[in-house]
Amino acid sequence: MMRGYFWIIVITLLIAATPLLTSSNTFFNFTVVVLIIALAAQGWNLLGGIGGQTSFGHAMFFGIGAYTASMLQTHLGVNAWIALIAAIAAGSLAGLIVGFLSFRAGLRGSYFALVTLAFAELLRVLANASEWTGGASGLLLKLEPSLANMQFSSRPTFMLLALAFVFISLVITQHIVNSRFGAHLVAVRENEDAAKALGVDVLTVKLKAISLSGAMTAAAGVLYVQYFLYIDAAIAFGIWISIEALLAPMVGGRGRVLGPLIGAFTLHGLGEITKSFAGRVPGIDLMVFAVVLIIVIAFASAGILGLLKKLSDRFAAKGGA
């Protein structure tokens, strides 16, 4: 039974094959950034798309991942891979804590969204002030490419690493979607009371989801810092990462396994294309980007994958008739 795995494998293989087709580091760098965003966004998608708990503050997990990894490496000299595991655990734990606080309090919808935003902002202010996080000057990882340091002098290698992470996140998500836990998660999204009546332990389901979500997004934070070797509070906990993590699945197809990846590629691809409109006046490219974004939403309200499904359904209906 393939149930969804087919396209995951195809797309992963396609991306993995790009080093055979091009040697453009611009492309690899672009793809690395997209994959990092896709991974962060997959975390969002699990909680927000499939589980319906919209977060505006996924930067919180991204930042916790990035900071945990870099603090362990710079302050304690911990091996990068161990730091990675610790960072993922930290993201997951942060998810549990935030989830416990807010889900116990019964927060949903916009209220949950805002509380996550507040947590991210709180962490941003704290990271900006604390000694451990390097305060406002941020943390710099020492540039020492080696497997042990999870730094690679070749862009394609790092791209493949990021791809591996994304692949794992896709497989995990697909597995969840096919499972009982996935059904419960969707049920919670659609109607909590009904889910409860059917024996779904709503709090536990949500907690599982947010802790997995935090772990995935934290992993993205680790990749970010391993790639750019620098992190500060504004990058790690700033609103922009939260928005990226939410925008990608929304555009690609909320709650769909491949939505975040497709969305991230589309958005960033669009960003690169619109840069060519930049000309002399700053901001024009982003205006074009925004207009295209609005048009995409207007005509593909269920995201790109939603649109594709609708088209294929219509095609099938016509073909069948």
Binding site: N29, N128, A129, L140, F228, L229, K275, P282, D285
Partner: protein, 377 residues
């Protein structure tokens, strides 16, 4: 006619969208003017008059976007990259460039981490954090001494980002060594909506000297609120401040800005060439802020290195930069001399707003006015 020599592509990286767009614009303007001037003067002579060609990249105020632009510029075949403005962008951009031995000239980015990573390709023309603070303190001590040690107590107001906090911390440890008493360190967020409380605090602390290191908007708010609340210290001495050396501020609020001193990047007001460039910029209605002459000079530095390298070859350019003694710049610096990538000839100057204009008041070698200190005496 013989074939024109192939143009030499130079990457200009500036944030012209996002939070830092304002500074990025000024920087881009300087680089553009320099390229135009060099080309008008016959291009790179050692390469048969090859023209410089600008490849511009918008860093969009984030390190990711900066890196992506570096990669693109690299693929377009630039021989060097100039700019970055903000430290995070410079850190990420120079590192990306380092993979290709692509020379990277940092314009502003003050964090010392930029030059302590041992990247061979990275050069910073302007003074970094430690040079700036060192000079700021030195200048302040001298100015204060020549005023008969008028100021004893100090309050520091700083933005809570990368440079403000570090700066304040350093000042707080250094100034007491010179007999100043630090009353308080006040961190303010960017952007701030209201600084009434900071001013209230200042009013109750009554410091002789206020040292603000904040971005433009906050400094405007601070100065205006101080004037409103009638807080008149003996001096306002800012370090790397976003407004006290910004012409717009001086023009819009001559009273609030009056007598504010700043230790910052600035051009050399005694340099004829700098004054000429200033005239040209101001003729277009734009203010002449330090990013412009600084980037103008960085391009000059690069062109000089290419000239001496005699080839559009990265390794040779890096070598030439490393041994540069470039002095035909617009800045109040001595001849260029790189140590581990930092131009040790660079130094900030102290400026003061006097009679609605920004004057250099220290060091005397570059000064076009005398410091007015204490200001409200």
């Amino acid at each position: 006619r013989g074939a024109e020599p192939a143009p030499i592509k130079v990457g200009i990286l500036q944030p012209v969208t996002g939070a830092l767009a304002q500074d990025g614009e000024y920087g881009r303007l300087g680089a553009e003017m320099a390229i135009a001037d060099i080309n008008a003067a016959g291009g790179i002579k050692s390469l048969g008059g090859a023209k410089l060609e600008m490849v511009f990249g918008d860093a969009r105020s984030t390190p990711e976007a900066g890196t992506q632009e570096v990669e693109r510029m690299q693929e377009e075949g630039v021989v060097a990259i100039v700019g970055g403005f903000a430290s995070p962008i410079c850190l990420a951009g120079s590192q990306a460039a380092a993979r290709y031995d692509l020379p990277y000239i940092v314009d502003v980015g003050v964090t010392d981490q930029i030059i302590t990573r041992g990247l061979k390709n990275t050069f910073r023309f302007a003074p970094g954090f430690s040079l700036c603070t060192g000079a700021a303190i030195q200048n302040l001590v001298k100015i204060n001494e020549s005023a008969g040690k008028a100021a004893k107590t100090v309050a520091l107001v700083h933005e809570d980002g990368l440079f403000g906090s570090g700066l304040a911390k350093l000042m707080a440890t250094e100034l007491p060594k010179h007999g100043f008493e630090i009353l308080e360190l006040i961190a303010v967020p960017t952007p701030s909506r209201d600084l009434s409380n900071v001013v209230l605090k200042l009013r109750s602390l009554r410091p002789d000297l206020i040292i603000p290191s904040t971005y433009y908007g906050e400094t405007v708010l601070l100065a205006r609120t101080m004037q409103q609340q009638r807080v008149r210290p003996k001096g306002v001495y800012s370090v790397l401040n976003g407004a006290a050396s910004n012409h717009r501020f001086v023009k819009e609020f001559p009273e609030a800005a009056g007598n504010i001193m700043d230790c910052n990047h600035w051009f050399d007001p005694r340099n004829e060439k700098a004054l000429a460039v200033q005239k040209r910029v101001e003729a277009t209605g734009k203010p002449f802020n330090y990013n412009t002459p600084l980037n103008y000079s960085c391009i000059g530095l690069l062109a000089d290195a290419i000239e001496r390298a005699g080839a559009a070859d990265r390794v040779k350019i890096i070598e030439a930069l490393g041994t540069s003694t470039f002095s035909d710049h617009l800045m109040p610096y001595g001849p260029t001399k790189f140590e581990n990538g930092q131009n040790m000839g660079a130094a900030p100057v102290s400026t003061q707003v006097q009679d609605g204009a920004i004057k250099v008041v220290f060091p005397e070698d570059f000064a076009n006015a005398k410091p007015k200190f204490p200001a409200n005496g």
